[in-house]
Symmetry: C2
Subunit: 367 residues, 2 copies
């Protein structure tokens, strides 16, 4: 038989996330509320949907491997040039390319314990060495990350701002000071997937670009296009250009290009979604509080809810919600695992969550 | 500044293929005939287009990371089980994962000189060592590939059947004997992207699965869905399972899943396209012959045309066609480079090719 590489042979064939469809097949029943994956149930803009429908007949054409129009539009949107942008198959794909480009096998990569599992999947997948530091007060601990990055001479340090899975955030100034304090050859991977729903003052200004920072954004969250796989990285041209060495040049699908362009053109819709997300966050917080639980402040399109006990209890709450056809997820790291995580969603789904939570809690308490 | 890995630093940031859109931007003018990228201008099935349009509003949902329904449908279609199939972001993406999984840095990987450049891009990208053998009689030379694979103790040998860029093919028995004769730990990457348009007897039976062969298929060619990025690999479960170690689990977009399912369900449309491709191949051959050129036999959705002189002349022919708004490509390897390559397409585009070829040839002869 052909042999796996020595590195590949060490990797598990488990997956970073189990999809809700997989759970539905196992349960033999569909979820009634899909509020676990931080998708945007508010959906994409109707103009985006129309643009996709119109483009469907052109699906026989390969995409433009340069993503020229989408990059140009993003550059205008962000106040940078197209040379500062690379588009890829979602942030997930771009994180993989980043680790591949910047972390030698064995190199140290620093992240928070309980932060994005798919990033860790890529770190393992390219044989780099994952160093984790605990969260502090339900936020990423920038001081501890900095100490670890310096101590380990890290090739990469990963920060999500706003943070997933806790919903917390740092102000732009804190992030900038953190970037400035890093060893100069450490790359800051700044994941801003949830940036659109954060308060003003969370995202650092785009300019001046820093030579040691790449910023990751996506159409999957506020733009409501998770299914299309379209994310982008913004940074100095010399860093961004490196992605051309290894990316799948025809990898961004044509529908994503069309939808991304249309989404950027519909500012009003984005504003509307951001307001809907904010209202949904407040609604989730009210539901949580009404059940004696503590909603954590959130700058994202989800609310993390402290279930008030340990990880085992929160897991039971999750299981009881799932048993009642409510798809939610939860943090798994020690200290964070007392929480469940509920995505901002239209009222119909939040009403189901509200209706099922009391019984789920009661069952979790007696189970 | 953050540093690239030693391997990444050696890689060029050139691209395997320049897209027609890039050429159009450089020219400042659109192509009138897009017959260079072996896309299917016959388009996807109208049922597939309708399925995509209907699915557009659901683009806010992540795809099913298991590709469960699509794999099940493919397995039925191919007479294997779902455990024998992995779906990815086009054959391009799957080839990258294959090299990553099975070729150590420095390991020998054997291919034909002038075969698929994107495969070579991945071999370089993962630091493996590319060994090439020349074509023989415009076909891949299985004897020479076998000798090279044995001599080099190759981790992987790549064969495209039918072949791109020459359109030639081997019979199923030849491929099977080749697979059986390989060193037992050499993986045969059998690229069957053009399999649907090949004569009966070209594709080996799917069963029994061979422990040293992975077969690559796509919705990009006969199914007319190049823009959606959806390909798949078929092989023994133990080999196929390895992709889960490294693939981008949410990487196949939801539109591709929906379209792929609908495409597999519309056998009549596929049959119709295969007949249209065959007619277009004959039409291209007639056009070539009418201009004193020699069309090569083709089992693919394109016809490679021998321009009757050297590579420099064929390049001039290509340039003159491009100048006349006809997008074509050409093989670049010595011996193959006397040819240009024209995709099967609807008559409107082939008529433009027919109309422009005489002047392009005349200009190439006097340039």
């Amino acid at each position: 038989m052909p042999r796996l590489t020595a590195l590949a042979a060490t990797l598990p064939d488990t997956v970073p996330f189990v999809g809700p469809e997989t759970q539905e097949r196992a349960r033999g029943r569909a979820f009634r509320a899909r509020v676990g994956a931080n998708e945007s149930g508010f959906g994409p803009s109707p103009r985006v949907v129309a643009a996709m429908a119109e483009a469907a007949a052109e699906a026989w054409r390969y995409c433009d491997p340069d993503n020229f129009e989408l990059k140009a539009s993003l550059a205008r949107h962000l106040g940078v040039t197209a040379e500062n942008v690379v588009v890829g198959e979602g942030i997930d794909g771009l994180l993989g390319l980043t680790v591949r480009l910047f972390a030698e096998p064995g190199a140290a990569v620093v992240t928070s314990l309980g932060a994005y599992p798919t990033f860790n999947f890529h770190v393992a997948g390219f044989g780099a060495r994952l160093i984790t530091v605990p969260y502090r007060g339900d936020g990423e601990d920038l001081d501890a990350l900095l100490i670890a990055a310096r101590r380990e001479k890290a090739a990469i340090v990963y920060v999500s701002n706003p943070d997933n899975p806790m919903g917390s955030w740092h102000g732009a100034g804190e992030i900038e000071r953190f970037a400035d304090a890093l060893p100069e050859d450490t790359l800051l991977v700044l994941d801003e997937a949830y940036g659109e729903t954060a308060p003003d003052g969370t995202l650092p200004p785009m300019l001046p670009l820093r030579p040691n920072v790449l910023r990751y954004r996506t159409f999957s969250k506020a733009y409501g296009l998770a299914g299309l796989r379209c994310g982008y990285v913004v940074g100095e041209a010399s860093l961004v250009r490196a992605f051309d060495k290894v990316r799948n040049h025809f990898g961004v699908n044509r529908m994503a290009q069309v939808a991304g362009l249309a989404a950027l053109a519909d500012h009003d819709y984005l504003d509307k979604v951001v307001a809907q997300v904010d209202a949904a966050r407040r609604r989730i917080a009210v539901i949580a509080a009404a059940n004696g639980l503590r909603p954590l402040p959130s700058a994202t399109n989800f609310v993390t809810i402290d279930c008030g006990a340990d990880g085992a209890f929160a897991l039971k709450v999750l299981q009881q919600l799932v048993a009642r056809d409510v798809f939610v997820r939860k943090p798994m790291a020690p200290g964070l695992d007392r929480c469940i995580r509920v995505s901002a969603a239209p009222e119909a789904e939040l009403a189901i969550f509200a209706a099922e939570l009391p019984a789920a809690l009661a069952a979790a308490r007696t189970a």
